[in-house]
């Protein structure tokens, strides 16, 4: 029989990753309630399968992989009506302001992203928004680092071309953020 889950280990894992996982889910769903619901489900799975969760940084990647799988399957799923989930969704509504973007720029970027192949878009967003390196993304999506690097380069190239075609001058912020190097 399995040993009972290690509460201390779970709490450490939860405490150090919950905001990142919630941010990831909120960005991808665009729906605070859905994000809160999937957050609870992600960590519930982690709790139930704690012995399977890798130690250290790999555990963080494992969680993102679980959250990603839930996102892929979330369409049409039944929502939780748990009061804590509802409260978290409310807190998200209060805490996260709606980002106002300059219209043309936002539209061009959104269209450019939407035009990318799904996997390339996912890799680009995991890089830009979550700050993952190719090796980490490979662990999350179940691919190889080399393939991730190739797709990331393609995504950047295609998006740049798309923006150029739109004749839209889009300058990066004064202090460009580069993709994190592989550890």
């Amino acid at each position: 029989m399995r040993a009972p889950p290690d509460g201390d280990r779970f709490e450490e894992l939860y405490r150090t990753t919950r905001k990142d996982i919630l941010a990831y889910l909120a960005r991808r769903t665009g729906d605070r309630e859905q994000a809160a619901d999937l957050l609870s489900e992600t960590y519930l799975i982690a709790w139930c399968r704690l012995p399977d969760v890798p130690i250290g940084h790999e555990g963080r990647l494992w969680l993102f992989g679980v959250a990603r799988n839930l996102l892929l399957r979330h369409a049409g799923r039944q929502r939780s009506h748990d009061v804590l989930v509802q409260r978290l969704a409310d807190e998200l509504h209060h805490a996260v302001p709606t980002v106002a973007l300059e219209h043309d720029r936002a539209q061009a970027l959104s269209e450019g992203l939407a035009s990318l192949p799904k996997r390339e878009r996912e890799i680009l967003l995991l890089t830009a928004w979550e700050g993952f390196a190719p090796r980490e993304i490979a662990a999350i999506i179940g691919s190889s680092p080399n393939i991730v690097r190739v797709r990331l380069a393609r995504a950047r190239s295609k998006l740049r071309a798309r923006l150029d075609d739109a004749s839209l001058t889009v300058e990066p912020p004064p202090q460009p953020v580069t993709a994190p190097a592989d550890p």
Binding site: M1, P5, F10, E11, Y14, R15, R18, K19, L22, A23, A26, R27, S40, E41, Y43, L44, I45, W47, C48, S80, H81, D82, V83, L84, V85, Q86, R87, L88, E91, L92, H94, A95, V96, V99, L101, R105, L109, S110, L113, L124, T127, A128, W129, P134, V150, L152, A153, R154, A155, R156, S157, L159, R160, L163, P172, P173, P176, V177, T178, A179
Partner: protein, 289 residues
């Protein structure tokens, strides 16, 4: 721009970061942190969390009797407080929708332990699980034990309800019924009541095929030693050594297992205590009854 390069020469990442829906990340707010804390604590707590946060149903079967009333295979769900409600239905219409949910909370509908009609519903749910004659008090005691678990743990959200799946409930009845048959066989054997012993042995022989058992553990298995609760066994694997000993008419082996309280939680956890209102632990038997 160097196409194919792995570095973000064109600054595309930074541009994409500019349309981050969260504007760079989640802020530090007291309300957000507190709610996240509560969710984490709820997941870890025995009372569990949400409709998909049931503790493993086995807890209901595995916990010692003294703990069963507070750590049953129940789950807490948030809801609207129902003060001054005259009738609360034990049926909730909540079913697990995913395999792992079923694994966590047990199969079947989640019943509200605080339901006005919980006792009747529980009796109906377990009506196909046979107890030996004279052991009705065991069934009643088990239902009382479950109903007494209807209070939510401290710190639960307002409107919390304690639920138990019909699968978990039936599993606990099956465990109790099997043990009742073992005690019945032991008593009949001691009393020289061959007919009753044979009837008990037949029930014990068929127990691994009870629907309540097969649903939860279709392939039971257990490895020696058959004492205590530490030998490797599946959820109902512990039935097999008892069954083997009974069919071999090995009284001493049965006595040894009963004395060691062998099993997932042992038979001692699923029978009424001697001092309970339900009556004696094991009904007395007259010769030839």
């Amino acid at each position: 721009m160097s196409r194919g390069d792995t570095t973000d020469v064109g600054g595309i990442d930074a541009i994409v970061r500019g349309i981050d829906p969260l504007g760079g990340g989640l802020p530090e707010t007291h309300g957000l942190e507190r709610t996240l804390d509560e969710i984490g604590a709820a997941i870890v707590s025995d009372g569990a969390f949400g409709t998909r946060a049931a503790p493993r149903w086995r807890r209901w079967l595995a916990v010692p009797r003294r703990l069963a009333a507070v750590a049953a295979a129940v789950l807490a769900v948030g809801g609207v407080a129902t003060a001054a409600v005259v009738f609360v239905n034990a049926h909730t219409g909540i079913y697990p929708t995913k395999p792992w949910e079923r694994e966590a909370g047990g199969p079947g509908e989640s019943l509200n332990l605080a339901g006005t009609n919980f006792r009747q519903v529980a009796l109906t749910v377990a009506s196909d699980i046979p107890f030996p004659p004279g052991y009705a008090a065991w069934r009643t005691w088990l239902i009382t034990l479950a109903a007494n678990s209807s209070s939510c743990p401290k710190g639960s959200p307002a409107g919390c309800k304690m639920l138990i799946s019909t699968g978990a409930l039936r599993g606990s009845f099956a465990q109790s019924a099997f043990c009742a048959w073992v005690y019945d066989w032991r008593q009949a054997t001691q009393a020289g009541d061959a007919a009753a012993a044979q009837r008990a042995a037949q029930a014990i022989r068929e127990a691994p095929l009870w629907k309540a058992v097969v649903t939860l553990d279709p392939h039971p298995h257990a490895a020696p030693p058959y004492t205590g609760r530490h030998g490797p066994m599946s959820d109902f694997g512990w039935l097999l050594p008892y069954r083997h000993a009974v069919l071999a008419h090995d009284v001493s082996a049965v006595d040894g297992m009963l004395a060691a309280n062998y099993g997932l939680s042992g038979c001692a956890s699923v029978r009424p205590p001697a001092a309970s209102k339900s009556g004696t632990v094991v009904p007395s038997r007259s010769h030839g009854s």
